[in-house]
Point group: D2
Chain length 486, copies 4
């Protein structure tokens, strides 16, 4: 279910949306860094390109940042030994670009006048560029192009004296989506934006407090799930205990519904609702909405599998593995030769001919972004002898870009933004194509239907209804300086 | 289905048997090395530790050998450009050990008095050590501990003048299992041992001849399956065409039945029989032999999945993903710290609690080797709230070591060699445990039953009935010199 | 004469003082980065641990920084190609410590609100820590522990609008020694502190303007020497030409006299005076002051050689190579095993027994810092059969630490700070020991004698007479925070 | 005197001849590998590209081979710890080429039928290719193109039973120059070819026996010089003591006279004669033969320095450092960009203008090979203001290639093979040019004159009088196969 974000040669699959980050933090546990490494390993699907951990041992802060997987970089005892202390935060990152890549890897750390401060952030600010220009005018020197550094400079230039007050002042100035974890000399802080767009949950491991993007990161270390942070909540952990603050103006909750569709691991749960069960219900809703007379239900592995199982059960059709996936993918800095690149999708997928041949198949995938992969997979099914190919998509058409921490192509490259469903069906080459309706999706997550006045979730990628202002998207700030600091 | 041979941190999973090699060869195709890289990528499940390719461009031989995955090492244009020519052979290898590892990576090449010769081999010789001592007495200097080098020295010291005759003479002296591909200045040669223990198939790509361990390697390059090489057959490909030789004394066919159970990719086929369908039939046989009153069928991913689907269909029970696998595994030379190692199985697997809780589950796995992983997975199921755990194994008890190219623990470490099924059931902690019978396995591959006088397959790992003599296993040769050449 | 700053295994020789940096800049030359690489190669003796180059191509700034030698890192066409433009600055650095080493490598670059700005600095500020604390209180985030970053933040936070004004404002706040080169979008700027403690010279290459720490960096690129920058001078180079500013309060010149003794390359010249000829004159002065009845004059290679030649000529004694030096020294990150470390000085030097045996020798070295090497070399001479060993040192006793960009041990570890000459003679084990007098040194550089009221040079390491205030050395700032940013 | 074999960017200087190897061996010393590393460090001038050590701990053989300097690769405790035992041999190597480089690095090791055997060799066989073809016909598989492997295969295929007998049989078949050290399970063996072309000396370290190419390798470990091995002598060291064998037909001694001119370190001695003193006498002979009216004597550093001192003393002229050398040279795999390559000699040398300007100079260099560097250095002297440049060469014209372990250009590329002295003088651009006469050279090494009937030394590079047959240089063997084993 997890390795869904790599292309055949290990770079990001540009026919999927990508969560940009996962965060983790722990306070009061021996070997905090090792626990953080485990948590990040469980959150690896939220970002495979780089990872980092910062710890504090009561006297000094320590940070390790590496390009590559957690399991490749944070399991050596020598690395963990360089991260002593009973508190740590960590971050996995989806993408870094160019030679200066390591500068964008989090956590970021700064020695502030009041002491050290480290921060890891999942989300995206919609006024980062505007703030950055203002900070530069004031004399702040930026090291990276990450939004997170903007937050760090806002904290650094705050004239408040207490770190919590400085952070609150900084967060009060930013717009967008942010779930973040920070450590200072005395505190672990977790905070979630006022609409709760990105997830952040809290757990307990024998008295140690844990923050993580998803519950699966609690499972791996055997921690108990306590609760989700509420939208706009800041939880401050010290040796004296936990304090919950609500320092920001209240706003309606708008959790990202795509976490259910694709981003989150199926064994995670949000709001007490299992992601896996939501996906199975999506399959059932899809079968109800767009059933078809066919012989067999085939998932596009691995992300389409739960919905395919749900579809097959609801439709009373057999479920079978008609596409076999090759998990051995080159991982690092690979430049495939032309002759290999043309092999395309076959490097990752192969038709299981014995299952497909002579059958009318329902192919279940989670979403369509650019559609390039869908075209190839459908052709592969036909080459393997499928007599009919009916594609069913476990979400509504993806028509709009995300500005809240998800890597999406610009709107014009989203297939659904420029084609009708009939046109898409024709382009992809299927006998029929159907998407889940937006209300079907809301039903799958347990709502009666979408509240069009005030949607219960952020569903902007399906509807264009962005819950925040998009400051950087308008005016001069729009032209992002790409390389602020070589 | 494929990444089943790594442990949580990327080393070999010592609770699985491991195929030791995959081979590939092509003659008469532009960009032969790129095709070979693709073929090896499709055969990556047969060996993840190292890979190599040798090519010949009409004048010179070229060889590249690398520790690591095909996709990490053989996709750069610069590497492929160093392998020019219209013919090439390749090899993926399961394990290399120690600092001298690269010496054991194939293909091996030698400049013989008559010209260059490269060889790649899947299998294992049972008289390699005996032959090696004899060759050393004669003055041969060994560079590695691989059986394949023994074959190479036998070819080098043959006093025949033609390469085919020299190879036949060499193969006439060896015992054991060998499917091999070789190139000389004029020829591509594929050969399979007299019993056909390891697979070797032939394909055609627009007139170019292809050899490969499995059909999935034909699919990836779009080649047409022609036929399997027969046991004892040697196929010699030149620019004039193909010649089939049968130079060895005929012997009864004894193809490795474990290829169906676990080694081969599910989308491959042997003898016209789909591996995936065999595995589903295994599940159905298992349900018939050892059905159980339960709520749900759960595969141990990914290798148990086809049998679990077959079991669920036959038993009329729902199939569901109760275990979620983390595919992001560190790959290279990682030494997990103690604190992480103790997390054990959780690094790779997590219970999908929403599926498991309150359920009586049937857990389907392909085999039990040492049993260490099974113990942890069962405990994980119970922790997730399973009320009953019934384990069903898609093969008979693995009681004996393999000496034909499969990495197995010594017999004493095989759980089934030292415990009864009742004892194993107790050790693993399940409510019930059942293995497929040997006749059930033969039925799944299409036989009425096992012919106990002359078994149709090599099933020595289940029965101890080795089809060849085991020369090195007796007498003084038994003490293997580990490091012949530092 | 040049490789005098490495210990036997390539780390810094802790029995020598070390110049901390060399700088270079060029404006208006095609392939400015390649010229800068050459200039840095010629300045390599001023810092061997790391080097960096920044260039500007009219639109963007580019920076490459590497641990290691210029010749190992800046000669590949691919590296030079990443540094396009007709203007560039470069820096070689003596030492970096710890894992965050690369952060301290210069040039430093910042995107200021008015555009990019890169800076390279030779020298040391004596109020850097004090300023850094103030800047942090204001909200500046430091990335390194280098003084140079302090200058950069002062420029960034200046509220002037023109870069020259901002730089002048920043430099007006710092104390200590600084020769620096900077590039902005329109300008190359060279500047030297009001006392001219560290060198900075200007040259011309077919109309392109060049700045460098020493003249040898002009020679390597075939540039013509124009003049030295005057103390307190700032030279601003634009496409319109050169402008000389004198924005700081005038101060008496105090050029570092140790540049003549040891730091500079012998083929460089300052103030029209050849360093090599100064060293020969030092040898002659030493012979005049402390002649001795002996058979032969032996240099401690390579830094003692010019003075030894001067001594031999003046004393009418033969000059001979009695110590042979092994130039093949391991360079990077080497941890010698104990058994090798105990071999000590022999790894670098061997007695040339045929020259030494049975002779009364005069051993000439440039200076004594800790004295550890001297002890070993004298013993080596005695082991080789020297009947008498008279040591003559080409400078006065080194009694005080430098705070102006030279790496010195703390005062207590300087042999001459805790022993009389007689005690040193006994400790080192020589038959006689003499140092050059301070007036002898001033004579060698062309003065009649030292002006004790207002010394013509900075000679603080011999006299303790520091020409500037040492703000950081007093009060709380004294406790330097070692790791401001992990 | 030492770093004379690298070009400005660390590759081999193609305007010098290069010794191809140094060897070292020790028996009966704790930490034999560390001693060997030290010895190789002292022999680094005999080969800078790669080094290796083999040791034996009473049970197993261990080998480490690395590209690069001894000081970069053999000083880490972890490396030395992988080489346990009280006996070891080592090797430094001048050049390795191509991707298969490490295969050519020595010592070579083979597990023979009678036990392990490691060998390191300085020299070159003149019938290696002929023997290699014969061995391949017999079935031997070669891993490298090194002559040394030919010796190893001859030992391996010998049908004698004792290792000493096998080695004698093997050495009886080879022609050329060889000084070698070997270890077997019981013995350390040193052997020198019948004419003693390459050096090999024996020392004693507290009872442990040491072999080395030069005495400077004894000095570094504090070992006592015992004697040179005689031409044709084989010394066998066991725990019982030392045995000297003379198994080969006697031949007249022909030690390489170029060892005195250039190869050996000046602090080494052969036959009781100091290399440094020979070089000074060469300078004196040169002054006597070809004196000139000039102001100053300038060495081309570092190899011309001893002869320049000798010349200056004999001629009564001042000696001065008119060329300053930059020792900081990039070492590894560097591809200088065109713009830098054109800077040529300046990367390594700079004129010391204050010494040169307005002077008539005598420039002393050890030899002229291609002459390319001489042209540049003379021009540099003129640019620095020399009014006359007289070049004096400390050896006769180098007219012929060496086939005994010295890397020389083919004859046609040797300047002296295609130009008269007058032509060379004109080509190099000097006011006068003189070489030492061959008899002058013989006088400097202590002979009255060269015995033209039976020269006392091998001086083939000056005379073409090769002391052995050159089998491979005639007939078909001449076409060397470059890449026997990829």
């Amino acid at each position: 279910m997890e390795d869904f974000t790599t292309n055949p040669f290990g770079g990001p699959d540009d026919d999927k949306l990508h969560e940009e980050c996962g965060v983790f933090g722990v306070f009061g546990a021996q070997n905090a860094a090792a626990l953080t490494a485990l948590g990040l390993h469980a959150l690896q699907h939220r970002g495979q390109e780089a990872a980092g951990i910062s710890s504090f041992d009561g006297a000094h802060f320590f940070t390790e940042r590496h390009i590559g997987l957690v399991g490749d970089n944070f399991t050596k005892p020598s690395v963990i030994a360089r991260l002593p202390g009973d508190r740590a935060i960590g971050h996995t990152r989806y993408s870094t670009t160019g030679g200066s890549g390591i500068r964008n890897v989090q956590p970021l750390f700064a020695e502030l006048s009041g002491g050290g401060f480290a921060i890891a952030h999942n989300g995206n600010l919609t006024n980062a560029m505007t703030l950055q220009k203002e900070l530069q005018r004031r004399g702040s020197i930026f090291q990276s192009t990450s939004d997170t550094e903007t937050i760090l400079h806002l904290v650094a230039t705050s004239q408040k004296t207490q770190i919590v007050d400085r952070l609150i002042e900084a967060l009060g100035r930013i717009e967008g989506a942010w779930s973040l974890v920070c450590i200072s000399q005395k505190k672990l802080i977790g905070a979630r934006d006022p609409m709760g767009i990105r997830p952040l949950i809290m757990g307990d491991l024998d008295g140690a407090i844990v923050f993580a993007s998803e519950t699966c990161a609690l499972d791996i270390i055997g921690a108990r799930f306590v609760r989700e942070l509420e939208p706009g909540e800041m939880v401050v952990v010290t040796e004296s205990g936990i304090e919950s603050l609500k320092p920001f103006a209240p706003a309606p909750s708008r959790f990202c519904i795509f976490e259910y569709v694709y981003f989150a691991r199926p064994d995670s749960a949000f709001g007490g609702t299992s992601v896996y069960q939501v996906r199975k219900r999506i399959g059932a809703e899809l079968a109800a909405e767009s059933g078809v007379d066919a012989d067999i239900v085939i998932p596009v592995p691995d992300s389409g599998t739960p919905s395919a199982i749900g579809f097959a059960e609801a439709a009373g059709l057999p479920f079978d593995l008609g596409i076999i996936r090759n998990h051995y993918i080159g991982r690092t800095f690979i430049e495939p030769s032309d002759s290999i690149r043309h092999m395309g999708v076959k490097l990752k997928h192969n038709a299981n001919r014995s299952v497909i041949q002579g059958k009318r198949i329902v192919l279940v995938d989670d979403s369509i972004v650019r559609g390039t992969t869908s075209v190839k997979i459908v052709q592969m099914m036909r080459d393997a002898g499928a007599t009919e190919v009916h594609m069913r998509i476990a979400s509504p058409p993806t028509t709009d870009s995300c500005f809240y921490g998800v890597d999406t192509p610009e709107k014009g490259k989203l297939l659904a933004s420029r084609m009708s469903i009939a046109e898409m069906s024709n382009y992809i080459g299927v006998d029929s194509l159907a998407f889940l309706t937006i209300d079907g999706l809301y039903r799958a997550v347990g709502e009666a239907k979408r509240n069009n006045e005030l949607p219960q979730y952020c569903d902007a990628c399906f509807t264009g209804a962005y819950p925040t202002v998009l400051t950087d998207q308008s005016g001069e700030a729009n032209v992002r300086q790409l390389s602020l600091l070589a």
